[in-house]
Symmetry: C2
DNA sequence: GCCCCTGATGACAATGGTTCCCATGGTTGT
DNA sequence: ACAACCATGGGAACCATTGTCATCAGGGGC
């Protein structure tokens, strides 16, 4: 499987630009809407395809919210987790070396191989909690 | 909010019985199929409703697999996480007091309130890894 | 045990996020 | 510029899940 270089299309650039601008996580549909409002309309299928390609290339992170929707965000490289505000989507990347070791240790102790884990922290950030009073 | 006692119907008992018998996680559709094969046919809507009720009552745990499907399992009470085999679904409950404290501490440090977290470990159990060779 | 009220059921429609299909158009190597 | 071929987009298809509503049955009251 020789990795073919993806073409540099207007749509691909537009999707990447949105992810550059956004701070928190956003769904594919939200990104599609933002593109429409910017006048840089891109087909919904294309948004999905490009997001999936970026995930495959490990250039963005994806996670599911409680509703099962997939959210995307441009993140730093390397393994990390997220502290996400339920209200505004603001996201803080967190590293947890201890947790990584713990998870691997638990799996190893039970004879599991090819181990991966998911860990996300959800809460309400200070600003949103204050404005909700 | 006075909790009304749910009625003791054949369908409710049948769904609970399946969860009693199963060891690992199963999707609503799988449980529906098992019921059909047992001859204790139950409407799909009813399966979903009863599973949701059991989740609300904290009598079973629910989590999403990579495909976004919701999986259900009868678990011990109290907060815990899961080590799940991708191949056979075998599940081991794990407690991680250190992780709990770490997650809460991280959230607190950033001023987040009303904090929750998700943590699941996926891997291939020894038996499945051996049979895959 | 029998009735009746009311919540539970189930067949089907509807929803919503995501993926598939395929004719068309734009990109890139030459 | 040319041509080959990948990317696009609009709509249909998919699939898990939820909603609708007429019908059914559990269980409290008698």
């Amino acid at each position: 499987m020789v990795a073919t270089t993806p073409r540099n299309t207007r749509q691909r650039r537009a999707v990447a630009a949105i992810l550059d601008d956004l701070d928190g996580f956003a769904s594919a549909q939200e990104i599609h809407d933002i593109l429409r409002h910017r006048g840089e309309s891109v087909g919904l299928s294309t948004v999905y395809r490009n997001l999936q390609a970026l995930v495959d290339a490990s250039e963005i992170d994806a996670l599911r919210n409680d509703d099962g929707e997939v959210l995307y965000r441009q993140c730093s490289t390397g393994h990390h987790h997220h502290l996400v505000c339920r209200a505004c989507g603001r996201t803080i990347e967190v590293a947890g070396p201890t947790v990584e070791r713990w998870a691997d240790g638990v799996a190893d102790k039970h004879g599991f191989v090819d181990v991966a884990h998911t860990l996300e922290i959800f809460g309400t950030c200070g600003a949103c909690a204050a404005s909700a009073d």
